[in-house]
Point group: C2
Chain length 243, copies 2
């Protein structure tokens, strides 16, 4: 009866945008498009793909927001050489739509970060350890709440990097970003001494290659942080704001 432009039973994925994204994926997967490479101009892509430039721009905009590529007027479009920020926006909307709670985020941290910290103790390079030390120094020297939170995040970020697990690294960077955003307002009544003490313990354990000690210290650190900020179990939706 109805002429099915889309195969029956299949998802109506015929949207030009989705197909173009698939083609770009294939280009990367096949090696035709290497990370860091410069893409053809939008007008050329539109002609080659046989679609309108507006459609191409939608696709490129999707990938740009995800951090897959970056565009500069007058210059061109470049594929990112790593997926640094690729989980940031999605995590924001994850918190927004599912209205994730601090409870849930802390549980996730408690489940994974101690393990990551143990890995970090086993694998940390001299550079990683130096980054950890600098983060502690930065926290000690911090004047404003903003500086403190920044240094706090840098410490955990350094641990994720040292763990050598890029997936968890990017995931938890996103989670911390969201979490710190929601803690900004109530951080004044939270002492700086607690986290600093735990950071020092974790740092020592990692430097001493004491995986178990590092794991345990991180576990206590997160549990402590949770007890300090989180009686409230409400969702974080209202805290997420555009940056």
């Amino acid at each position: 009866m109805a002429k099915t432009a889309t195969a029956p039973g299949e998802r109506p994925d015929n949207r030009i945008t989705a197909r173009l994204i698939g083609r770009i994926k294939n280009l990367i997967a096949s090696g035709a498009l290497a990370p860091g490479a410069k893409l053809p101009p939008e007008r050329t892509l539109a002609r080659d793909f046989g679609v309108n430039r507006a459609s191409v721009r939608q696709v490129l905009k999707v990938l740009e927001i995800m951090g897959v590529l970056s565009q500069r007027v007058g210059d061109g479009t470049y594929l990112s050489d790593s997926a640094e920020t690729i989980l940031n926006e999605p995590i924001d909307f994850l918190v927004l739509l599912d209205d994730l709670s601090q409870h849930e985020l802390f549980e996730t941290r408690l489940m994974i970060e101690p393990e990551l910290t143990a890995r970090a103790a086993e694998r940390a390079t001299a550079e990683d350890i130096s980054a950890l030390r600098n983060a502690i120094l930065g926290m000690e020297r911090s004047k404003t709440t903003r500086e403190r939170l920044h240094a706090d995040m840098a410490f955990h970020e350094a641990i994720f990097r040292a763990s050598g697990n890029r997936i968890c690294h990017l995931l938890f960077r996103g989670i911390h970003r969201t979490l710190l955003m929601s803690m900004g307002q109530l951080s004044d009544r939270v002492s700086i001494e607690h986290p600093l003490m735990f950071h020092r313990r974790i740092y020592s354990a990692i430097r001493e290659r004491d995986a178990e000690g590092a794991r345990k210290a991180m576990q206590e650190h997160i549990a402590d942080a949770r007890s300090l900020v989180g009686q409230e179990n409400s969702g974080l939706r209202r805290h997420v704001r555009s940056r």
Copy 2:
């Protein structure tokens, strides 16, 4: 000298798209836009935001690809009521750009899934346990490789759901999706007996509320799977294809 349209030192975030996404975030955060709600028509949004419809379409397309909302011609645009697929595309590109290896994905699984399985043993509802049983049945009855992989994934998916941790749930759904995609071709030479045996052990442990047993069984399951498929430590980039 140069007339700085953008504040000096600030990121050139003037892109209309990024700002509009921020405004939409705020609308959700403030509750003005509830999950499941219907958005105004594109033409109206364009007028209200004071931008062109093409710009609005770029924004909506970004959010649609991420799974934040869905659009239907002749009907309208609806905000998703949950972020089911929000991490799928990002994980695909994460694997592509950073060329993540099976080794890295398995390590991540090994780090987290046993813990999630323990949580599942503590929290699983009757419905969850039923889903687990069905997944095992589906695997036993599977004729084709495709069916088998589907049932396999359904089992793990049920565990993630039972764990009650939505972040890990969505993250690992994405990881499994990518991993299964790359295992499809070599799955013929992988026996079905091994995973099935482990699945039964895990299922029993969860049903018995044996968190430690469940954790250990899942740990052995993943380690076993890793040893079966993964001598090779090469990146998965070439395996990722559009669906």
